[in-house]
Amino acid sequence: MSAAASTAARTALRRLPVLGVPLRRRPLVVGALLVAACLALAVVALGTGDYPLTPLQVVQAALDPSAGFARTVVLEWRMPRVLAALAFGAALGASGAVFQSLTRNPLGSPDVIGFSTGAYTGALLVLTVGGVSSAFASATGSATGATGGGAATTAGALAGGLLTALVVYALARVRGTVQGYRLVVVGIAATAVLHAANTYLLLRAQTEVAMAGAVWGAGSLSTTGWGDLTWALGALVVLVPALAVLAPALRQLELGDDAASAHGVRVERARLALVVVGVALVSVVTASSGPIAFVALAAPQVARLLLRGPGLSLVGSALVGALLLVSADQVSQRLLPGVPVGVVTVVGGGAYLLVLLLVRARRSA
């Protein structure tokens, strides 16, 4: 290599000055395509239903204050659900990336290792034992916004999710370190126990409460109104910057605890903060829509296949998560009316898990 070429190679900026993101075409193009796909699907979702609108009419209705009834349909009836699907899907995808990265295991996802089940338990406890019946207004769909109850269930879900994370984390800890596979195994056991607890809570609850709780427990966006959405979005507005601040430490942790620590990461503190933020993301979603499984599990791996970057991308996982949940919600509304979106994701996710296991088995065989 000549001296001039070497100098050029030394100083040419190959990364964005922000976050040291490599300047490569593939992640940028794929990222842009994912954003476009999310927006397109959102416009379609806003236009479909009992009062169909063309994409152009949707955009007009959203932008023009004098659009009348079309505007009410788009902004008041359909927008909360579409927004929720996008935001919750992104939150689940990002949370999945955090935990799969921390556990170094594609199964180390909050929905597999009990955190979303624990969040559901927390919310159920608030509803059945705590007697905050007004919160069920949203679950039963009899009223549009139940902000007071929403706050209590959100808090319950958050407490349940964090407590589960704490217990699973403590049980998985051996001699000061947490092994990823151990966390997964302990988490799966915790999920089983919590499922039993949830069933018990529903069985001893009053019939209407139990019915609504069960519907909610399947995971649904059908009752999302502006009321609870505001709560959830407010929480996400706090959590997303927190995750952005923690993202560089997460990337160093991918190299192993020793390397991360040698690079100046406060390993235990960073990991705890990441667990709290990751659990909070899942809990906020669970409190609003019930546990929606498999988005957090699948989104990071799908994003990795599409982006082909190093490790798991938080932004990529969030985009894929948003796309997955909006798509799943459309399937649940249009193709399988009456089937909650949580059931759609479980079925789709089950197929995904089977493929994942088969591919892994074939690769190792």
Partner: protein
Amino acid sequence: MSGVPGHGVAARLEARGVRLAYEGRVVASDLSLAVPDGSFTVVVGPNACGKSTLLRAFSRLLRPQAGAVVLDGAAIASYRPKEAARRVGLLPQSATAPEGITVADLVARGRYPHQGLVRQWSAADEVATTDAMLATGVEELRDRLVDDLSGGQRQRVWVAVALAQQTPLLLLDEPTTFLDVSHQVELLDLFADLHEAGTTVVAVLHDLNHAARYATHLVVMKDGAVVTAGAPADVLTAELVEAVYGLACVVVPDPVTGTPMVVPRGREARRPR
């Protein structure tokens, strides 16, 4: 600079009466060791003598229960982690490369201690990354996936990650353990070059002959204490090896470098006649 009696030389990094333990198991109860500035210090000793534990204390991975590791006159625990990481680098024994990462991207992660919320990726980072890859001979591999490299190449990449940190002190925890002998020598030559260029190097090694060849300052440990330290030619004798390792041997000059070379007698010498 050094406050420990018996050490006349300047030492930016030293352990002062440290007590090192894992979950109650005490590895060293009162250990002091100064790393002479500009030296290639090699720590040797039998298994479980505490040499790797000492290196963990030097690199902030293990907090001493008593005493202190002192860096530039202040306890290393009192530094902000990134500040300490700009002065002391570590090649850890076990590190994992994320799936699908390229050589250049992995080396770039060594720049973490120089970055912050405000100061992100800059031309200085780019230069340091490329220089680290040039120094370790992995620049041609920059766009290759780390997963696809050989063991020797991969270890060089990890050295480059530590070099990208641009620290005046570099700690190496058994850097040659999983390599074949030609890659071992290649890597040790690389460390010798870094030492020549001004880096203070501290390495934990198993091979006494490699240690004698490359060290300017040899530290021999046993049972959590320093038995002796000094130039290999002064320190490494048959009596010492017998006393520390319980191994009967002869020490002869290395035919290539003239440094002490340990030749074990093995079973023949021990069998009662």
